[in-house]
């Protein structure tokens, strides 16, 4: 019945167009919008609305208790000209992103390459390497890390076995950020799984043809694997970079919320948290958030723009 009315629907609809436009909209669009309703409410109430408000607040002084005072671009001006902590936190975050993401992806790809050769016990290895990435975001792991890299921690105990007396990694500003980078690399499991899925897409006959032509393994990797894998590399890089920019918990737990020693682990997110929820400078924190959005946005746009020069897409 419905089928017939669908087939012969066109002329009938035209005839009835003017009087019942609303009922047609109701029939065609309502189900979709009803199913979308929870998301739409959330999108408008928890994303768009707050974004607009946050942009407004970034031009104000706001301490949560009294109403916001418009101060123009003061927050932004202060940030760029008169706030050493802002620059420190930006530098710390950039350092973290620039070192943790490529190293993590390199590990992920290297292990995925090893696992991709039809190796026996693949499911076991894959599971073992994945476990840290599943557990890693937990506060418990940050606590563990703080212990491992403490002066009398596990790492130094093991180093002592080979006669090396290690420093207190956590409380030495030279190394403290590196402990967080190591923690991030330790969680290479999920990009590894994505690489494995990508590697499986590469047709094996390409390698066969290449080895018939006498191409070495390395040459096959550079000329076949890497180019064909660039979409996956690109995808992983974007996801991991955004995650790295947002990283908060490990730095918070390991430094006890301070970003110390001497602000060496003061992630941008941590600084923003302090401004907002320790000092209640909500206007300034909103401005910090918008600068973060701008940085992440510029980075993403730049990646997409340059991707056409190095990411290889079929067809």
């Amino acid at each position: 019945m419905t089928a017939r009315s669908l087939q012969s629907g066109a002329p009938a609809r035209e005839r009835a167009a003017t009087p019942s436009t609303w009922s047609r909209i109701w029939q065609n669009d309502a189900p979709g919008y009803l199913f979308l309703l929870p998301w739409l409410i959330g999108f408008i109430g928890l994303t768009v609305g707050p974004m607009v408000t946050s942009l407004y607040l970034s031009f104000t002084d706001f301490d949560l208790l009294t109403s916001p005072d418009w101060v123009g671009a003061d927050n932004y001006i202060r940030m760029f000209t008169n706030d050493a902590k802002f620059w420190t936190s930006m530098r710390v975050t950039m350092f973290f992103v620039i070192f943790s993401v490529p190293l993590k992806l390199a590990f992920a790809l290297a292990v995925a390459m090893l696992l991709n050769r039809g190796i026996r016990g693949l499911p076991l290895y894959r599971a073992l390497f994945y476990l840290p990435s599943l557990l890693g975001a937990s506060v418990a792991i940050a606590i563990l890390w703080r212990q491992i890299f403490a002066g009398d921690g596990l790492v130094n105990k093991l180093l002592l076995l080979v006669g090396i007396e290690g420093p207190s990694w956590i409380s030495n500003p030279q190394y403290s950020l590196w402990t967080l980078i190591v923690l991030s690399i330790w969680q290479f499991g999920s990009p590894m799984i994505i690489f494995l899925a990508g590697l499986r897409q590469i047709p094996t006959d390409m390698y066969e043809a290449a080895s018939l032509d006498g191409a070495s393994k390395w040459r096959q990797f550079v000329k076949i694997t890497l180019p064909l894998l660039t979409p996956v590399v690109f995808f992983n890089a974007i996801i991991q970079t955004i995650e790295a920019f947002k990283s908060f918990t490990p730095a918070f737990i390991i430094s006890g919320g301070t970003g110390n020693p001497i602000n060496s682990t003061l992630f941008y997110t941590l600084y923003l948290y302090q401004e907002a929820f320790a000092f209640f400078r909500m206007g300034y924190a909103s401005a910090l958030a918008w600068v973060l959005l701008a940085v992440v946005g510029v980075f993403t746009a730049f990646s997409f723009f340059t991707s056409k020069y190095w990411v290889h897409y079929d067809e």
Binding site: S54, R117, G118, P132, L135, L144, S190, W290
Partner: protein, 294 residues
């Protein structure tokens, strides 16, 4: 032509004899060594939680000389409020989040994958954009909003967004899956006069158990692990989650009672580890097909 590559696959795939067997042995050794290095900290944590207090820092080995559950008993009541309360809170928040997320995200995904409506592509693009949005940009106004609603120190700010499909990642995950279901099923049902709601409830949902389970498990784990949300919204100890409990432990007694801290840390990882143990394949497939971040 089709014969030759097939034979070659056998040769290259299973390893040419001699050199290749050695190579594969070396690879296994390397992978095993890497696994040990990666898992050593976790095993050490587990062992430390069962060690008598005085032995925790004297040994780097992963086997305690005496097994003791003292740390668990001390840690459980190490704070003013017992960890039992924190675990209960975490389970309530994570459980409600799972229900909300699976419902709201599957509804949105069904709309995107199967229904036609005006501006659908626009909304879909918006949804994808929110995936890239750092949460800090909406954080403060959301906090102000929830505070005005009187929701601070309740679970609502942590749970209600899940009922509004706030994590677009799961919508995306489900859209991918729904699109793979044969469209003939809904069309047949539609001809029989089924409403979209019935198609969603009677056809799509029952056929989508794998993806719904994946979404449920990831929602549970991410909510369980969440530290930032509880940190800003929950300030009374009786409403703390496990993660907040651990953090308080490190601040107050952690310096003196590492055993208790480690024991509670291990306990906090148990639910996640159980999911890993029993649903690994779902988790790994979920990541492989959509590129989950963790």
């Amino acid at each position: 032509m089709s014969d030759v590559p097939a034979k070659l696959t056998v040769v290259t795939g299973k390893g040419s004899p001699g050199r290749s067997r050695l190579t594969s042995l070396l690879i296994h050794l390397g992978l095993l060594a890497a696994s040990v290095v990666m898992l050593y900290p976790l095993l050490w944590l587990l062992a430390a939680s069962f060690r008598p207090e005085n032995e925790i820092f004297t040994s780097a080995s992963i086997l305690p000389s005496v097994w003791s559950i003292d740390s668990y008993i001390r840690g459980w009541n190490g704070l003013r409020t017992s960890f039992g309360v924190f675990f209960t809170n975490s389970f309530i928040i994570s459980g409600l989040s799972v229900i909300g997320n699976v419902m709201a995200c599957s509804m949105a995904a069904y709309a995107f994958a199967r229904l036609d409506f005006r501006f659908k592509n626009f909304w879909f693009a918006m949804m994808l954009l929110t995936l890239m949005l750092p949460y800090q940009v909406t954080l403060i106004p959301q906090y102000v909003l929830f505070r005005q609603l009187g929701w601070v120190n309740t679970f609502l700010p942590l749970v209600v967004p899940k009922f509004l499909a706030a994590d677009g990642f799961f919508i995306f995950l489900m859209v991918q899956f729904f699109r793979g279901l044969p469209k003939e099923l809904d069309e047949a049902a539609q001809m029989d006069g089924c409403s979209p709601w019935r198609i969603y409830w009677k056809i799509i949902i029952p056929l989508s158990m794998p993806v719904l389970a994946t979404a449920a498990i990831f929602t549970f784990i991410w909510t369980w692990d969440d530290f930032f949300g509880p940190l800003i919204y929950l300030s009374e100890m009786k409403s703390y989650t496990v993660m907040l409990g651990l953090r308080t432990f490190t601040d107050s007694t952690g310096e003196s009672d590492y055993g208790g801290l480690f024991a509670m840390s291990v306990l906090s990882l148990v639910p996640i580890f159980l999911f890993f143990l029993f649903f690994q394949r779902l988790l790994i497939e979920g990541i492989a097909t959509t590129g989950m971040k963790r």
